[in-house]
Amino acid sequence: MYQYDRFDHQMVRERVAQFRGQVARRLNGELTEDEFKPLRLRNGVYLQLHAYMLRVAIPYGLLASRQLRKLAHIARRYDKGYGHFSTRQNIQYNWPRLDEVPDILAELAEVEMHTIQTSGNCIRNTTADHLAGVAVDEIEDPRPYCELVRQWSTFHPEFNWLPRKFKIAISGGAQDRAALAYHDIGLRLVKNDAGEIGFEVMVGGGLGRTPMIAKTIREFLPKQHLLSYLEAILRVYNMLGRRDNIFKARIKILVHEHGIEKIRELVEADWEATRDGALALRDEDIAGFKAFFAPPPYETLPANDSGLAQQLESDPAFARWHGNAVIAHRVPGYAAVDISLKTGVQAPGDVTDDQMDAIADLADRYSFGQIRVNHRQNLLFADVRQSDLHALWQALVDLDLATPNNGKLTDIISCPGMDFCSLATARSIPVALDLQRRFEDLDHLYDLGDLTLNISGCINACAHHHAGNIGILGVNKKGEELYQLLLGGSSRNDASIGAITGPGFAPDAIVGAVEDVLAVYLERREGPEETFLEVYRRLGDQPFKERLYG
């Protein structure tokens, strides 16, 4: 993985010193809260319902075991013993003290981590496909480009005060696993007719109040122009993006109001002037970044481990987990393993300090000391020998981290909601836990097939409720919490925005409503292979509405 050199180290150290000064100026009254707010946000510090919240960047979701141990230490020393992984591959702490935040940042800097630009109207952490480097369908590893974008976007002076936040995602597989269509810029590594690899550039996606699917602004961008092209898009957005209304300030609105053709014209004109300038990447530059992500020292192994076959035969619980959590790997004899943080006990994405330490140890033993965070709030070991899977599974069972619900209904994405978030209109964690309890039975869960269910506690859509096959949005109507149901969303290659079924459901009725929807699915599917999303797309929403409201 990427290793800081002296420049990167100095950058984060100086950032810590800068923020320490800003906190001191806030505490002595030199800065008003209004002035301090954008500064603390640029360091990931939010003011929530009960306390400050600190968001730490995990660039493109990649963690070394020593970094995860540091995160565990921070949870223990400065927080209440746990952390929360978000849908943007970051981790959040819910209870830090403002005066201790500079110390936390200094601790993070020791392990090449930071909170830079994890909030605020600037370029946020770049996210990536969690199977980068190991996916069977990969065209090229996106991570070297993510790191290039991370450095280019860090303290970019021209784009530090944008109309609104700005999110970039990069995916390298034939299948999109990074929800590109819902980002301000989505970059998909593609091969053109001449066999060269470059980027398809998409712009203007996003969720929130006005969900939109990103549009392709350029079919093929040669790699060397990656940064100059991003800079052109950002410049057009910085100058023309709306600043009169916070709800219309994202680039998706600019693209929507002017049309993609007009935006393309402006971006390409700006880019023409700079494409061969100082931002052009040379082959050597790209090769240097690629070297950081070279494959680990894999052993030469048979494609199918014979011991594993036996274990699968003799241990049904292991076989069940294996069938769900183990993902095919590019290299013979290896597998990727999903570690579900959807245990039904803790809030989705939550993990304790002890679990983090234990996961770090397991990563050292079984996966070259690296851990990944995916955008569904789970962790992943990317490089496990097939012959180690059984031992790893047993260790995960002991940690309560072997719930085999990857990609199933109970693998819920949920935002913190009213339990923590100051913007929330309803709770989301209790709904997630209720649903997980109701669908605990694994046979029933598997019978429902692959299904995504996302719950947001307000219209800001941090849990991407429009992009779930089933989405739940908590709203507040005249002091009552109500839950709207959305059906038909997807964040994959076939991205689509879920549609609201009708009036919302009371807290004690929303789980039943989901059950009704699934009953219709089970009755109407043409066979177990037909997924919920396929049935919904075939039938439309009518049969579901009839059951819900009829």
Partner: protein, 167 residues
């Protein structure tokens, strides 16, 4: 007289802002700054003056409209209506790096310490710091960071070039 931070020291502002152009003869003596639209309308007149000339850009005006005139202008004034509005950063960058403007670029409005380093790196070289703030203390922000990841208008070599061994 208001003060301008330039090259690390506070100097008196010697420029007069002119908003309504009536006739050449009615303009004040000395160096003047006029809004872009008045500049474009009256530049043939204005260049006859025996003073330095500056142009004020609103932050939604395209600096490229000054492309042919930059040799005749000594100052471009940019506006930061609030510290969170970064449009003028792009204007500064375009003026310096795209259009090659070599005169003074002055930041006005809500100009404060925690935004000034970004301004400088985009090409602003004179700062009308908010009067209730200590301008010299604010200038300490220029030392917050030793290096830069991006090629920008302050002339510093970006880290990528230093890594290549260019410095």
């Amino acid at each position: 007289m208001d003060k301008i931070l330039k090259d690390g020291v506070l100097i008196d502002n010697e420029w007069t802002d002119v908003t309504g152009y009536e006739a050449l003869s009615s303009l004040p003596s000395g160096d003047i700054v006029v809004p872009l639209d008045q500049w474009l309308e009256h530049r043939a007149d204005l260049v006859k003056r025996n003073s330095r000339l500056g142009v004020r850009l609103r932050n939604d005006e395209d600096p490229a409209r000054l492309a042919d005139d930059l040799g005749r202008i000594a100052l471009v004034v940019l506006e930061f209506p609030s510290f969170g509005d970064g449009r003028a950063l792009s204007q500064a960058n375009l003026l310096r790096r795209r259009l090659g403007f070599e005169g003074e670029i002055r930041a006005t409005g809500d100009v404060q310490r925690d935004q000034m380093n970004d301004m400088r790196r985009c090409g602003v070289d004179a700062f009308a710091v908010r009067p209730d703030r200590d301008a010299l203390a604010a200038a300490e922000a220029f030392d917050d960071f030793t290096y830069s990841y991006q090629p920008t208008a302050d002339g510093r070599l970006p880290i990528s070039r230093i890594r290549r061994g260019d410095a």
